[in-house]
């Protein structure tokens, strides 16, 4: 996999906060279709690096190249439009809306003025099939367990044509069974050419990846 082209390159990134140098000349390369784990204790700068990448923080110096082109993301939305999605540790879903409504929130298919719920649910079904998970598009988020909620987040990222997924400590609140399903899914995503940055506070269990 390492021979695949470099999809994302972060060069000499420096980010300082008042009194702290959080990132000092950090380099980071991501290849297409790989899972790149970012390990380290809390405070090591993993999350800061990802927030710089995502446009939540602005870097002090350094440069970022996405598929060879230099990019400057000013907001997570811009990053998202360029195909970069972050799945945060605290999931960002609307508890009382349906799975389908969450996945296409702000981008729902329309029929005239009205939301086209039929197509909304069909499109969600398609993504779920692609992920190989069995979640009813019409169930509400607060009826799902955490593992399935995370699947919805991943589905949401894919529906936006993300080709780089950042997962921030994705297994922290999952059961062993759910972790197994997640790792299985990660494997299938990388086979599709999607690159994954996997943030973990410790060594974790990567034998399956």
């Amino acid at each position: 996999m390492q021979n695949e082209e470099i999809i994302l390159q972060m060069k000499a990134i420096t980010k300082t906060f008042p009194g702290v140098k959080a990132l000092d000349n950090v380099n980071f390369n991501l290849h297409q279709g790989e899972v790149h784990a970012l390990l380290g204790e809390n405070g090591a700068g993993k999350s800061t690096l990802m927030k710089v990448l995502n446009g939540i923080y602005q870097k002090n110096s350094g440069s970022i190249y996405l598929e060879g082109n230099q990019v400057e993301f000013k907001s997570p939305k811009e990053a998202q439009e360029a195909g970069l999605a972050i799945i945060h540790q605290e999931l960002e879903l609307i508890p009382y809306l349906t799975v389908a409504e969450n996945i296409f929130l702000g981008r729902e298919p329309k029929k005239g003025f009205l939301v086209d719920f039929k197509r909304l649910n069909e499109k969600t079904e398609e993504i779920m099939n692609r992920l190989g998970v069995n979640i009813d598009p019409q169930s509400k988020i607060n009826e799902l367990n955490i593992g399935n909620q995370q699947m919805v987040e991943i589905a949401k990222a894919l529906s936006q044509d993300a080709n780089i997924l950042v997962m921030d400590e994705p297994t922290s609140s999952l059961t062993p069974k759910e972790i197994e399903i997640l790792f299985d899914l990660i494997e299938r995503l990388t086979a599709e050419g999607i690159s994954i940055i996997y943030i973990s506070p410790n060594g974790g269990n990567f034998s399956n990846l």
Partner: protein
């Protein structure tokens, strides 16, 4: 059937009942009152109840939008009074009906816009913003009307509040139109779904690219608009705009929303619950009147019903 299946059936049942519990409450109330009073279940009385309910129901529909986003609008009673006074004042000075109504409704909508901008853009707490607006709008009403009622309108204007379309009172016709439109807006168009989304998780809504400030501002405008519509109907019905009209109406509107099962923290609930909530309050008032209960006791009963409803709601969650 295993124990687990029975358990899940049971849970399903509880879920269905809890979804319709305000409706069940209304039906129980109607049955009880029809047993207690022969007059209650007559067409004449029921039309009377729905007419009495219409003003509060229209206010409560606007309140539903606001509460669904996690906000509150305490200014609706005063905005109602101001719009009512402005329409009445313009009519009294010879302005055409259409223009007078338009001006009254525009004023209410603009005050709603101001509420919305202070909540969404200036990040001020909705409770304080609308409390301030409640006082300002009441003051403006007293200034505009010089503290006196404005009375005496022509038949055409009075038709809006006192007329009938067939057997149906006009305020009820207007209420039904508003209910249908607002139901569609909340359930079927993207804007309505964003109202729910913001109340459910504002940060996530923003990350999804929803313009949360615009949606939040809009719900206060809708509430102001509907308060103004209620003001026009009330003036037409009473053939008079009272400067103290609408006092404490915001509380009845909030009560209807809460009785209808909409969560004060936002994100959950809807128009159908709110109309049931408004009907519960209206039927209760009407029933207690028919049973010759003094209005002092009626206040106690109304408050108690609200507390019991919210208590049961908490218990079932």
């Amino acid at each position: 059937m295993g124990e687990k299946a029975v358990n899940s059936k049971w849970k399903q049942g509880v879920k269905v009942i809890s979804k319709f519990k305000s409706g069940i409450g209304l039906i129980v109330l109607v049955i009880a009152l029809s047993l207690a009073s022969d007059y209650f279940l007559t067409a004449h009385n029921l039309l009377n109840v729905t007419r009495q309910v219409s003003i509060n129901a229209i206010l409560a529909v606007g309140m539903t939008f606001v509460i669904l986003t996690g906000g509150i609008d305490l200014s609706v009673g005063s905005v109602l009074a101001l719009s009512s006074a402005i329409t009445a004042g313009l009519l009294a000075s010879g302005t055409g009906i259409f223009l007078a109504i338009l001006a009254g409704i525009l004023v209410g909508t603009v005050l709603g816009l101001v509420n919305g901008l202070m909540v969404a853009k200036a990040k001020m707490p909705a409770f304080i913003v609308t409390l301030g607006m409640m006082t300002i709008a009441r003051g403006l009403t007293l200034i505009y009307s010089d503290g006196r009622p404005i009375s005496g309108f022509n038949e055409v204007f009075r038709f809006i509040g006192a007329g009938y379309l067939g057997p149906i009172p006009m305020p009820v016709v207007i209420m039904v139109i508003i209910l249908v439109v607002c139901y569609i807006v909340l359930k079927k168009i993207p804007f309505g779904r964003y109202v729910y989304a913001i109340g459910g998780n504002e940060k996530a809504s923003k990350l999804s690219g929803i313009n949360t400030d615009t949606v939040k501002t809009s719900v206060y405008m809708i509430s102001g608009f509907l308060a103004a519509v209620s003001g026009v109907i009330l003036a037409a019905r009473l053939n008079s705009a009272q400067p103290t009209a609408g006092t404490s109406y915001e509380l009845d509107a909030i009560a209807a929303v809460v009785l209808g099962g909409t969560s004060l923290s936002g994100g959950q609930g809807g128009i159908i619950g709110t109309i049931i909530g408004a009907l519960i309050i209206g039927v209760l008032n009407n029933g207690l009147n028919l049973l010759n209960v003094s209005s002092f006791y009626q206040l106690v009963a109304k408050g108690a019903v609200i507390l019991i409803a919210v208590f049961l709601d908490r218990r079932s969650q």
